[in-house]
């Protein structure tokens, strides 16, 4: 599984960072970015789905499968 935060949609609610700090980092302005290349370790997949389900702006995309 991989995740990606759409920087145009993210408004800095920071729900993803609160729920899955291992997967999302915040810049100095509070905008979220996926950590590294967005690859989600198997044991954090539920956390990734939780982050997606709590983003008020629908800014996080989940892609099943490994990085291309």
């Amino acid at each position: 599984m991989r995740i990606h935060v759409d920087g145009d949609k993210c408004q800095g609610h920071n729900r993803c960072h609160a729920l899955a700090p291992e997967l999302f980092e915040l810049d100095d302005y509070g905008t979220a970015h996926e950590t590294g290349d967005g690859a989600v370790p198997a044991h954090l997949e539920d956390r990734a789905r939780l982050a997606v389900a709590n983003c008020p702006e629908f800014a996080i995309e989940i892609m099943e499968g490994d990085a291309p």
Binding site: N14, A18, Y29, G30, A53, N54, F58
Partner: protein
């Protein structure tokens, strides 16, 4: 440099400048006063009033009915206003900065004068493109990392408030507790004297809850706010400190130090926007726990669930309804909107929309999927949302540690504020043996 700039720098706001600043806040009473035919509402679809006592006491049935039958209500009060009720329509307005302006975001009978691009209280009252830079000035000061150092202070302050009422059988969770917390925290951030807390609360009440008063009366009371902030700015100018006020006085946008009018507006925003909103959220959460023993017992037993429960309280009892002004005449889903009509953004109603949330009318404290819009949507997302969450979490944790068992002392005595920020203003709670 404007008059306000010069006078703030010299430490006083002269009469003409004070009047200009007051006009910024309350609107220009010479050009656009519209009498508001106040009276009890009998037709919520065509003559709604968000300050009606029925709305303040329990707006949910009103919203539920309108959402199902008339997704955009209208009123001639306040010079014309619209009220979209569904999550979809509220989102659409929030994201549409082309048709809707944030020039003013509190509905009154008048309209602001030509104050673009800075606006009354930047960045909440600014439109793109000015909004972007004005917001970026503040964002770094309100990230989770930036505000985390306030946690021990906030916790100690909450404990101190409860120490003051220790031993009382009945504690007013709104008056003795909730109302003090955001005031003290924002005063600390701005570097204003803690002893001025009562004055802040008066400012908030005048600005946000007395919207039905005539412009002249609003101007007089809001003049005190202008004087107060001007004095604080002058003192910080003379003697800079490590606080938000001094930071703003030296802040730059596009390579230039921002104007004193801009600093003034931003300080007014931080004072007004963070106080009764967070107070409302703290009160509504304690109100829910006082009347729902199962939820209260579960949070006492499982304090790790508190952050999740807080998101649900924010969804179900979201305090804030925002507003926009229509830029130019246009048709919005069949509604003939006119330039300068208000459009209310009832995020609390969006949060109760069954199309957007399962079991939307139930409070489920372990709700795992919760895309609530309590802090708004789009570019004006509440800048202080992390701070509000920190204060709310600590307030609830501290309260439950001290009072694991409590109930409403008198359900009929609870009083809710009306208007655009809704929360309990009187909330007597009976403390029971643990």
């Amino acid at each position: 440099m404007t008059d306000l700039d010069r006078e703030s720098a010299s430490g006083r706001a002269g009469t003409s400048t004070r009047d200009a600043a007051v006009r910024q806040v309350v609107g220009d009473d010479r050009t656009d006063v519209v009498s508001t035919p106040h009276g009890p509402v009998t037709d919520w679809a065509n003559d709604f009033d968000h300050t009606d006592p029925v709305w303040a006491a329990d707006p949910y049935p009103i919203w539920d009915e309108l959402r199902g039958t008339c997704p955009v209500a209208h009123t001639e009060r306040y010079g014309g206003a619209w009220l979209p009720l569904t999550h979809e329509l509220v989102s659409e307005v929030a994201y549409d900065t082309e048709h809707f302006s944030s020039r003013s975001i509190i509905v009154t009978g008048s309209r602001p004068g030509d104050i673009a691009p800075v606006g009354i209280a930047p960045p909440i009252s600014s439109d793109p493109p000015f909004h972007h830079g004005a917001r970026r000035l503040l964002l770094p000061e309100f990230t989770p990392k930036a505000i985390a150092p306030l946690e021990p202070f906030t916790r100690a302050y909450c404990n101190g408030l409860l120490d003051e009422v220790a031993g009382n059988d009945v504690v007013d969770a709104a008056i003795d507790y909730g109302q003090h917390i955001p005031v003290r925290v924002i005063a600390k951030m701005l570097g204003f004297p803690a002893s001025d807390a009562d004055r802040f609360r008066t400012f908030v009440y005048d600005a946000l809850e007395r919207v039905d008063r005539p412009p002249a009366e609003r101007g007089e009371t809001i003049g005190h706010l202008v004087d107060y902030i001007s004095t604080q700015m002058a003192e910080h100018q003379a003697e800079p400190r490590d606080d938000l006020t001094s930071y703003l006085l030296g802040a730059e946008m596009d390579g230039e130090v921002i104007s004193h009018r801009h600093v003034f507006g931003t300080i007014a925003l931080l004072l007004l926007a963070g106080i009764d909103t967070t107070w409302s959220a703290i009160g509504a959460s304690i109100w829910h726990l006082a009347k729902t023993p199962d939820d209260r017992e579960r949070l006492v037993a499982e304090p790790d669930l508190i952050p999740t429960a807080i998101e649900e309280f924010l969804r179900a009892y979201a305090p804030v309804t925002m507003a926009r002004l229509v830029k130019d005449d246009f048709d919005f889903h069949g509604c003939p909107m006119k330039a300068d009509d208000w459009v209310l953004l009832p995020f609390p109603s969006a949060n109760r929309d069954p199309e957007a949330f399962e079991r939307a009318d139930e409070v489920i404290i372990d709700r795992s999927e919760n895309r609530h819009a309590a802090f708004g949507l789009g570019i004006h997302r509440c800048l202080g949302s992390n701070l509000a969450r920190l204060e709310l979490r600590i307030a609830i944790e501290t309260w439950l540690e001290r009072y694991p068992n409590f109930t409403l002392a008198d359900p009929d005595a609870v009083r809710w504020s009306g208007g655009q920020v809704r929360g309990p203003r009187v909330l007597p709670v009976r403390i029971l043996p643990a």
